[in-house]
């Protein structure tokens, strides 16, 4: 085991044996913990991949060394005192010193200087990380729900859930709020967290106050994050992914969002109200799709390249196979294996057609929306492009047929207190869905076909 190797005992310092034991004990956990540093930590706070995270990290490192210095001083003094001034005989009479002004001033001023050395860069970083937003920043509205994330892109006019897509190297400004309890947006590798507060109602004409989080992702990849404010029973199961794609890959994803269903099926419901940028976007998307998907190769490549560290993200207990990413990203590249199969499933599979009927004919659509269909519910996650999601249930498990079937049958069994009905129990003010096994499978197949 890793553990064992690194516990080679440091040679005991000369002096009292008990003291060396103390020293050893204090050192032990450090060694143990360092031993564990090996291996990948997808949610590591000390592995920055955005400007925001980098500012924090360099600040953290400098503070870390200051505190280590102080700790060293205190521990060395303590060890020294404890070793040197042990009572040797009961008759000892040490000199009775009551104080020393110079020393007092010294250990007031010394730490004060260190405090200044820490505080100034901290305050600079406070302003640096909350600086005014640049012109070209992309705005995304993040809404926290018990227990999932909603991402709305006002410029693009699209809404998705649990997996946030961002273009690399472009500043993004997240507008954060919640409609129920407080959550906190946290993707450690992309920077610090900020709370999603329920915004108090205001009088007509006054402005509501939102929280913002502003950063620029600097590398492509899939980054893991998790809700960081206790929000109820399934707080632990409120995870998310941020997919940082190349500019092209991101654009392709947007386009895909609009053509996902409408391209293959006649739209039953009109595409939202007029004046919405949606319509234009759909047109653009349409034209892009005509060009074929060759452009998105970079996404696939990037994801594959960056898959290394993030491998094993995909759901509980899934294999740490980077291929997962390739498969997923394959949906963006026509030449990738599986693409044809997916396409086939998408358009022809009778199970999918059946699932679509069931889905649109059941209560699902009261809560869920799928772009281009009559499903326009807003209570639950938007399921457009659901087939492209890596994970299911706000990041808690791999998005595959088996898991999805389980989810639709018994969401609360997987995630307590979730606001979604199962096949045989009600949830979120809606009755049990009452779907048969066959129907559930069809719905699942349909949802996975949304790519």
């Amino acid at each position: 085991m890793r553990l064992m190797r690194s516990t080679a005992a440091p040679s005991p310092p000369v002096g009292d044996r008990r003291i060396s034991r103390l020293f050893f004990l204090l050192a032990l956990p450090v060694l143990l913990a360092l031993a564990g540093c090996a291996g990948e930590h997808p949610q590591s706070t000390i592995n920055p991949h955005s400007d925001f995270a980098e500012i924090i990290h360099s600040l953290y490192v400098s503070i870390f060394w200051w505190t280590m210095l102080i700790l060293a001083v205190v521990w060395i003094l303590l060890t020294w005192v404890v070793v040197k001034y042990r009572r040797k005989s009961e008759d000892e009479q040490p000199r009775q010193i009551r104080g020393h002004l110079g020393l007092e001033i010294g250990w007031t001023v010394g730490p004060a200087l260190i405090v200044i050395a820490i505080a100034i860069p901290s305050i600079q970083a406070v302003f640096a990380t909350q600086r005014p937003v640049s012109e070209d920043a992309m705005e995304v509205h993040v809404t926290g729900h018990q227990f999932w994330w909603e991402f709305h892109y006002p410029e693009q006019g699209i809404t998705t859930a649990n997996e946030l897509w961002l273009p690399v190297d472009r500043p993004v400004n997240l507008r954060l709020h919640s409609n129920d309890v407080i959550h906190s947006f946290w993707v450690p590798k992309l920077g610090g967290k900020r709370d999603l507060n329920p915004v108090p109602a205001v009088r007509e004409g006054q402005e509501r106050r939102y929280n913002w989080l502003y950063f620029t992702p600097l590398e492509t990849g899939v980054f893991m994050g998790q809700c960081a404010e206790f929000c109820g029973q399934s707080h632990a199961l409120m995870m998310k992914r941020v997919v940082v794609a190349t500019e092209e890959g991101f654009q392709e994803w947007i386009d895909r969002w609009f053509r996902s269903e409408g391209a293959d099926f006649p739209t039953e419901a009109p595409l939202e109200s007029a004046g919405n940028p949606l319509d234009d976007r759909a047109a653009v998307a349409g034209s892009l799709s005509a060009n074929g998907g060759g452009d998105d190769a970079p996404v696939a490549a990037d994801l594959a390249r960056d898959g290394g560290p993030e491998a094993g993200l995909n759901g509980y207990g899934s294999s740490a196979d980077p291929a997962v990413y390739r498969t997923a990203s394959a949906t963006f590249g026509q030449d990738a294996p599986g693409a044809t199969a997916a396409a086939g499933l998408h358009s022809e599979d009778p199970l999918v057609t059946r699932g679509r009927e069931v889905f649109l004919g059941s209560t699902c659509i009261a809560c869920h929306a799928v772009q281009g269909t009559s499903a326009q519910g807003v209570i639950g996650p938007n399921l457009t492009l659901f087939g492209t999601r890596y994970t299911l249930g706000a990041g808690i498990m791999e998005n595959n047929l088996e898991n999805l079937i389980r989810w639709i049958q018994d969401p609360m069994g997987i995630k307590p207190a979730v606001a979604m009905p199962g096949v045989d129990y009600p949830g979120g003010n809606w009755p049990a869905t009452g779907l048969s096994d066959e129907e559930v499978e069809a719905v699942a197949a349909y949802l996975l076909s949304l790519k």
């Binding site: 008990r18 034991r21 103390l22 004990l25 204090l26 956990p29 450090v30 913990a33 930590h41 997808p42 949610q43 706070t45 000390i46 500012i55 924090i56 600040l59 953290y60 870390f64 505190t67 102080i70 205190v74 303590l78 404890v82 001034y85 009572r87 009479q93 000199r95 009775q96 010193i97 009551r98 104080g99 020393h100 020393l103 007092e104 004060a112 405090v115 505080a119 901290s122 970083a125 302003f127 909350q130 129920d180 407080i182 967290k193 709370d195 507060n197 108090p200 913002w212 960081a228 404010e229 206790f230 929000c231 029973q233 707080h235 632990a236 995870m239 094993g312 509980y316 808690i396 307590p416």
Partner: protein, 616 residues
Amino acid sequence: MSTIGLETPVGREATAHHEEDTGFWSWITTVDHKRIAIMYFVAATAFFFIAGLKALVIRAQLMFPEQTLITPELYNQFFTMHGTTMIFLVAMPMAVAFFNYLVPLQIGARDVAFPRLNALAFWIFLFGGIYLNSSFLVGAAPHASWVGYATLTSPEFSPGQNTNFWLIGLSILGIASIMGGVNFITTIINMRAPGMKLMRMPLFTWMTLVTSFLLITAIPVIGVALIYLGFDRLFGTVFFQPAGGGDPVLWQHLFWIFGHPEVYILILPAFGVISDIIPTFSKKPLFGYPIVVYAGILIGFIGWGVWSHHMFTVGLGPIADSFFVAATMIIAIPTGVKIFNWLATMWGGSLKFTTAMLFCVGLLAVFTVGGLSGIMHASAPVNLQQHDSYFVVAHFHYVIVGGAMMGLWAGLYYWFPKVRGRFLDETLGKWHFWTTMIGFNLTFFPMHFAGLFGMPRRIFTYSAELNVDIYNQLSTVGAFIFGISSVIMVWNIVKSWRSGEPAPANPWGAPHLEWATPSPPHHYNFPRIPTVRSREPLWHKQERDEILAVTMPDPEEEPLMPNPSYWPIVLAAAITLSWALVMTGIWWVIALGILPVILATFMWAFEPAFPEGHGH
């Protein structure tokens, strides 16, 4: 210059001539600060085991990723009640136990200023604690964390009685704390022996004074916040209801305006304890006494202006953030001053490593770690990564367990001989210390790493992907070792209480007044009140002789002490009951509930405090 007073081996047996009543009812009705202290200690230790047991369940659940030992709902109840119990029913009352026992003895008084109020505060605390924990019996334990953030506590998101138990329980405990604060401030200001100037008081008494000021100023704030929450839940106000224009963040402000001074309420008594112990076992007076006093006052005072460092992620804006960054970091300076003064006290001393002293040294070693991680949190940008992660859990257990609790345990070994007239077993004590050090560090050190690698707190499980299993396993193992250390402690107390080695009046050669009484002291503490002329009265031969001459002999006539009384416990029961009735949310039931309180108050007021024929 000073000779240490080991030559006064006067045990209690040597002087006692008055058999005190020790029956069950004498404890129920007692107004003696020393007995109240013992009851506080016993109750707090019991609650420590209850809360510790919850911690063990938490640790077991987190030992491996994706475990399902307990349901998420139960997990939430467990960590909420673990935190709430540890803070309000363990750390605070255990400190109050020390206040109670020591303050009158250290300042040369026969009792606290308001003995019956003291008893009342104890019973309210006890009933409040029982009430709070009784929520488990009805399956509705509080589940919204010890900070109870709105809107998670709103009726909409926390229907049922869970949160009512929490808010009513805490407000009951708040009453007791304010009573305690008023009592100790009055006692310390007003009941000092002749010559006991403020700047001659033992550091422990000083820190009690500062802590008491924090109690009376901080508790009202959470009191009001709890009233708001209760009104929101029961009477439809919109203080924290965003739909009605209320701002949930206001709850956080009010909670932390209380909450941060609260953490200094936890630590300052421990600082006081070790400031008394270190000089004794170094055979040197406290280095820089006035500076240490001022530093304590300063910590308490600045501690009032830093609350938003718990709210850096809330989005208060850069100016507010910067202010609170600076204010928070400044606290490092007076705290550091204390640490260096303790080190300087030991420097050049003659250190004797009794268990009490070991705990002091242990505290210095580990509290600093916790303080320094606090400094990391205090940097707002860094806090954005660390907030609500296990890094914070590591921080506050280091300062609370490694600071507050270790300090109190040091005090336990130090003053036990005074309380019982017998030593705690030193061998078991050393076992206790070393298992604590190992268990404690093994439990909480790895949490730093779990936090740095992105493990949020308050989660009932975590994904295997996070790759933090190893730290959690170490923590869990450590927690159980720590549990064993607690068992050793209690075993030691029980054993030594019955058959410990007899202790003289001043077994450690300590300098303060409490050691000028027999062990255990008379129920009236001092036959005659001694006069004090210095900071270390028992370390100066002449002064010691003068003091012992009046404190040790049997008095011709026993000083008059206040009557025992039933009314404190009755009134406490009435107050708890009336408060609990608020749960019904029916206004006339609540109004009726006040009747017994009024009744008991009047009975209390008209019962003579002193034996008939005296007083008035």
